[in-house]
């Protein structure tokens, strides 16, 4: 992985990459009224179609980093290069309660100015992909937690992103639903040829899904772990267990 070198004199820049690559150079984030920096000079490169998982203790800045990449927050200084075709799945699902499953899923398209008819046509395959075709007319309060998160994934995919960002998307779900969604996510990642950057607080989840696990602590990247295990990964296998232990040791060091 080749890291971009960024000039110290670039205070802030955000550029578009044509591929699914993400490159961050010297990204700092300082909130007003907070003495410590939330992000302390993050350098990170994610290759097209790579699956990277950011892990770290609460408050280490991983969600802030994701929000900066998504364009929801600006870095204080540093450079961000990312494709315009980028979408995000939120921890809470973040569905609009007054819209049906179908309307939520096509929200990104209607927000971009597409007609409801056109947006519905384009969204239909993604609703089917996440297995919610029969629930298209239901409202979020009528769905289970897993179904809501599936709608969030369909909404993110419907805009046909090159990069999919996920902010702890499975943290509020039961183990069975989480396992099912892990499989769905891996299938979608491969079929859609997406670059995936996911935030998680679970080491096993990160090792199970990602090509690479990036450990963050105190606003900085502490260590990066490549995961050379083939899919589907056997979570009770020795290699998997050893890698989890290695990441765990660094996490708690």
């Amino acid at each position: 992985m080749k890291f971009m070198i960024y000039s110290k004199y670039i205070k802030l820049s955000s550029t578009n990459s044509n591929s699914g690559a993400i490159r961050l150079g010297g990204v700092h984030k300082q909130y007003a009224g907070v003495p410590q920096e939330t992000l302390k000079g993050i350098d990170l490169a994610v290759a097209p179609e790579e699956f990277v998982c950011l892990i770290g203790p609460s408050g280490c800045g991983k969600s802030t980093l994701l929000r900066i990449i998504a364009g929801l927050e600006a870095p204080t200084t540093g450079a961000v290069e990312k494709p315009q075709e980028l979408s995000m799945v939120f921890q809470s699902g973040a569905l609009l309660p007054w819209l049906t499953v179908e309307e939520n899923a096509m929200f990104g398209l209607t927000a971009a100015g597409k007609s409801k008819k056109e947006a519905a046509k384009e969204t239909r395959p993604y609703i089917e992909m996440v297995g919610l075709a029969e629930l298209a007319g239901k409202y979020p309060h009528e769905l289970s937690g897993g179904q809501r998160q599936r709608v969030g994934i369909a909404r993110a995919l419907a805009v046909r992103p090159k990069v999919l960002l996920l902010d702890e998307p499975f943290s509020a779900l039961d183990p069975k639903t989480t396992h099912e969604l892990h499989e769905d996510l891996l299938t979608i990642w491969r079929e859609q040829k997406l670059t995936v950057l996911m935030v998680s607080h679970l080491i096993e989840e990160a090792v199970s899904l990602a090509d690479r696990v990036v450990l963050m602590k105190d606003g900085a990247i502490k260590e990066t772990f490549n995961v050379p295990l083939p899919y589907p990964r056997r979570e009770n296998g020795i290699a998997f267990h050893e890698l989890v232990q290695k990441v765990r040791a660094a996490f708690f060091a």
């Binding site: 929000r67 998504a70 364009g71 929801l72 979408s87 995000m88 939120f90 921890q91 809470s92 973040a94 609009l96 309660p97 007054w98 819209l99 049906t100 309307e103 929200f107 990104g108 927000a111 971009a112 409202y139 979020p140 309060h141 805009v159």
Partner: protein
């Protein structure tokens, strides 16, 4: 399917044009509701006429309050610095009893012969703050992730207000409106009896409405008229609550975040 107006044009039509047209139509209509009705001449038809006049005044005041409350609440919550200055200021203004303004307001409106205008203005002031503070509470309660969804998909300005903010605060708008109407019904008895605030005025300066009928009937000892007017007023409020507010509150459940 969604029945909420989703485009900017629809929202402007619903929230601005309709209330403004209602104001113009109602002001023309209210020219007929000028002189108060003497209690001894009260008939059921006159009661209905007076109730309609009062209700139209409340609707106009509400429409004006809504048109002002929405931008005010968006303005207050737009930035923390604006909120730090404006919210305490609004709190002080709304704490001043609305009737304290009334003598000054009446003199101003009476100068131009707009007696109903004085009543509407006082109702407007009494309704405004219930809606503003309710909407400010609603805007604060929108989850950060929901705001992020709008930003992520490129919604800005009016589109963001239309697609994210307005539906998000809809339950708070209903609650605030309910409180505003409750306050309006409270004030209406005073707002229609103008002569007590106008130097040298008589009961003929009062405006027709259920409030002025109640006050005149009480003042002249006409217990029968007072009783009938009171029952009509209570029944109207109860029916509006049952068929409008309760239904809207139930409908607004769909707009609430879990």
């Amino acid at each position: 399917m969604v029945s909420y107006p989703r485009s900017i044009r629809q929202s402007l039509y619903t929230l601005v044009l309709v209330p403004l047209l209602a104001v113009v139509a109602a002001v023309l209509l209210l020219q007929h509701f000028t002189a108060a009705v003497a209690p001894s001449h009260i008939t059921i038809g006159m009661l209905a006429y007076a109730l309609s006049a009062t209700f139209i005044r409340l609707l106009i005041a509400y429409a004006l309050a809504l048109v002002c409350a929405l931008p005010l609440s968006f303005w207050v919550t737009h930035s923390t610095s604006a909120e730090r200055v404006l919210l305490p200021l609004f709190d002080v203004i709304q704490s001043v009893p609305v009737l304290a303004f009334f003598p000054v307001i009446i003199v101003f409106f009476a100068h131009y012969g707009l007696y109903s205008g004085a009543a509407i203005f006082i109702l407007f002031v009494s309704m405004l703050w219930s809606i503003v503070f309710s909407l400010v509470g609603g805007l604060h309660s929108i989850p950060q992730d929901i705001k992020s969804v709008g930003a992520l998909f490129g919604l800005r300005g009016f589109a963001y207000i239309d697609e994210i903010l307005l539906p998000s605060i809809f339950p708070y708008l209903i609650t605030g409106s309910l409180l505003a109407f409750a306050g309006g019904w409270n004030i209406v008895t005073v707002a229609e009896v103008l002569h007590t605030y106008l130097p040298g005025a008589t009961a003929s300066s009062d405006i027709v409405g259920i409030g002025s009928i109640l006050v005149h009937a009480a003042a002249s000892g006409d217990e029968q008229t007072f009783g009938i007017a009171l029952v009509v007023l209570i029944a109207t409020i109860a029916l509006i609550n049952l068929f409008v507010w309760q239904r809207l509150l139930k409908y607004a459940e769909r707009y609430k975040f879990e």
